[in-house]
Symmetry: C2
Subunit: 428 residues, 2 copies
């Protein structure tokens, strides 16, 4: 048994409390497995007096997370505050500068500042571990960087925002409109303080940026992701998709090809019978494809106290065991930058439009698609009571550019009653 | 870049050839990720002249794997020969004694001799890694021992023999009898030299013993597993199960409770809509449940050159990176032994019988079940052309002991035309 590993925990929300619980409940197990005692020296949180359901009086409190990160009795700084910049980043930098390893669940900070922070860690001879930042309890970072280390990763895909998946599956099962389920999710506490992070696809985009980086050995490139949220998905879209054998998922896809780094996070139609299509509620799924391993699928809880704390503590156990690999699985100097090529791979698309009720409207739409080189696989126009007629089109394979061009051309006509919705169909 | 990591590979079958290919093809990637060059110093195989489709002339050949394991220019001994005892074990022991780490895909050797070998490794300050021994390309050993290290593992389950799953799903999709599909699998090279290892559930049992050990921190206990093979499953069983919404899978289940260590590897009925029920062909799936993480499901190819070599090389990368955790995730001295409690958890059962065509036959069977305290949920007797009448019974929850007692009692009557088949129903 070597020296005790001493933690300083900044942020005592759901995940922080979960970490404290595991350190206490599983002390014997952790010592047996890692060969070291794991203890908590000090904690930090905005509100020191709030009742969190656990007794925290045994730990020193630091008002300032930077001071916590610099304490002599802290070996590993556990950053669970969140936020791209501000206290989380300040304290992470302070921890690295003070020679501490860092464990964080902060996908936003790493997706944006990951390269710089990894470089600081390397200069300091320290590491940043972030298993909890992607797909909650699923050990996907470890799977990609270590379990599949001998593979050239060819593609990563995933449903990685439990809130969006909850909303989409709940709309379908309860037959409720988006707005109603959004309210429900809010009442249940499923939404981030800024809900656009969830429903706008930003949070899932941060996760995809990190997965891409470790998978392809590229600098995290959040700005290169084509991101669309789920806000415009209607119950009608979900029903129509179901009719065609599909379900709508906020799906992330990343691949590195000769054209560059393709990264998309957007609602897609996926086959209802596929593993991704069957995913219910807050569960996450990540699919990893490599040249030797072919395809590995991981499924598990994407959020919540226990699962996320399990991931944080897996990183802590690694550090206790002396497992210290570079932040993104390889030295920062070897990370590549690749041009963004997010929309070059063709796919069929689902298009929903509302046409004003006048002769020739449908013909106008069809001829615009034809002029953009997009051929129609299926089309349906519905009987309607509203002034506008719902029209659904499934195209043959096309890329996004001509489709966007066609949609712009449609919008400059007088036949649309609303902005069309275009969803990629991923036949996994 | 620190010193080169030099491999000695014993066994050049499918997996060995796959490992050689990865070492060559991904040399740059492996160096980038691990910080070290990984090379092959020497190889060993029974037949040195066979054409394996790759040029092996650059490596020294050793006729004796023990000599290979002891070479000064070998840092890691890669054991891919297989077999519980004999050359594989001799060479593994020789490697450890000579101060080499060992990477192996040998589930049989570790399921039987794992404790002793792990002890030898610890005494020598070395480790044995065996990612490829369980579930092919799926990094399940790493997931359990590292990714879920902060969890008390409560249950592990899995479909871990691709050949059995191929046979069962092919019987269903093609409507072919067991014997016919068995022959097909043999022609395709899917079967072990001794096919009982596959279809008798032995191979999957070895894997379950290893999963239990790392999950629960127990000494591998292969003998404590209740094992049944798939040899007696008929196309009728598969059809009947499908009628009831189930599919038949060779399922391993292990849990450690107050009663002891429960380990079963047997054909079961699982819900057709569950992830395990949907598993097709040679794919493997492992389900891991822990107190914090809840449930993680891993799916991937269970065999084959690329996937298995990917797992072997993941272990090699770990060693190159200096990741060295104890063989079973914790020191051998801390591994517990638990009494075997394989059949204590009650479940409903599916029973298939062939009754001779005489009055009162069904009544006799029903009263025997009643006398053993087993109540019947559903029963069907089919019209038939053969002399014996097929009868299917689904029981309410019962344990195995009274069921075996009832089956023995039935067999001592004169109403059975064949030995009954009893399959556990797992409502996952």
């Amino acid at each position: 048994m070597t020296a005790t590993l001493r933690l300083g925990i900044a942020g005592l929300g759901t995940v922080g409390v979960g970490v404290v619980k595991i350190v206490r409940k599983q002390a014997a197990l952790l010592a047996q497995r890692t060969g070291r005692d794991i203890t908590i020296s000090a904690v930090s949180a905005r509100n020191a007096t709030k009742d969190r359901g656990i007794n925290l009086s045994g730990y020193d409190w630091e008002a300032d997370p930077v001071a916590l990160a610099q304490r002599d009795d802290v070996d590993v700084f556990v950053e669970l505050m969140g936020g791209t910049d501000g206290p989380a980043k300040d304290a992470t930098e302070a921890a690295l500068a003070a020679g501490k390893d860092v464990v964080t669940a902060n996908k936003a900070m790493l997706a944006i500042h990951g390269r710089d922070l990894a470089e600081q860690a390397e200069s300091a001879g320290r590491v940043i571990r972030f298993e909890a930042a992607v797909a909650g309890g699923i050990p996907v970072i470890k799977t990609v960087t270590e379990g599949l280390a001998a593979n050239e990763i060819t593609r990563v895909m995933g449903v990685m925002n439990g809130t969006c998946n909850y909303i989409l599956t709940r709309m379908e099962s309860a037959g409720l409109p988006y707005e109603k389920v959004f309210e429900e999710a809010d009442d249940l506490g499923y939404l981030e303080a800024d809900p656009t992070l969830d429903v706008g696809g930003i949070d899932a985009g941060h996760k995809l940026a990190l997965l891409s980086a470790i998978g392809f050995g590229t600098v995290p490139d959040f700005d290169g992701i084509e991101i669309e949220g789920i806000e415009r998905i209607t119950i009608e879209d979900i029903r129509q998709a179901a009719d065609m054998g599909y379900r709508i998922k906020l799906l992330g896809v990343a691949q590195l090809t000769g054209r560059g780094l393709e990264q998309r996070m957007q609602p897609c139609l996926v086959p209802a019978s596929s593993p991704l299509g069957q995913l219910e509620g807050g569960t996450n799924m990540v699919v990893i494809e490599g040249d030797s391993v072919q395809q590995i699928v991981l499924r598990g809880p994407g959020a919540g106290e226990g699962p996320t704390a399990s991931a944080v503590m897996a990183d802590v156990c690694d550090l206790a065991r002396g497992i210290r690999i570079p932040t993104f699985g390889q030295p920062v100097s070897t990370l590549r930058t690749a041009p963004s090529a997010s929309s070059v791979l063709p796919a069929p698309y689902y298009l929903r439009m509302a046409l004003v009720d006048k002769p020739g409207a449908l013909a106008k739409i069809a001829s615009i698609l034809g002029a953009s080189g997009i051929s129609i696989d299926r089309m349906r126009q519905y009987g309607h009571s509203e002034p506008a007629a719902p029209v659904l089109i499934v195209t043959h394979r096309t890329t996004r550019a001509p489709l966007d061009e066609a949609i712009a051309a449609m919008q400059s006509t007088d036949v649309l009653a609303a902005t069309p919705v275009a969803l990629r169909i991923e036949n996994l």
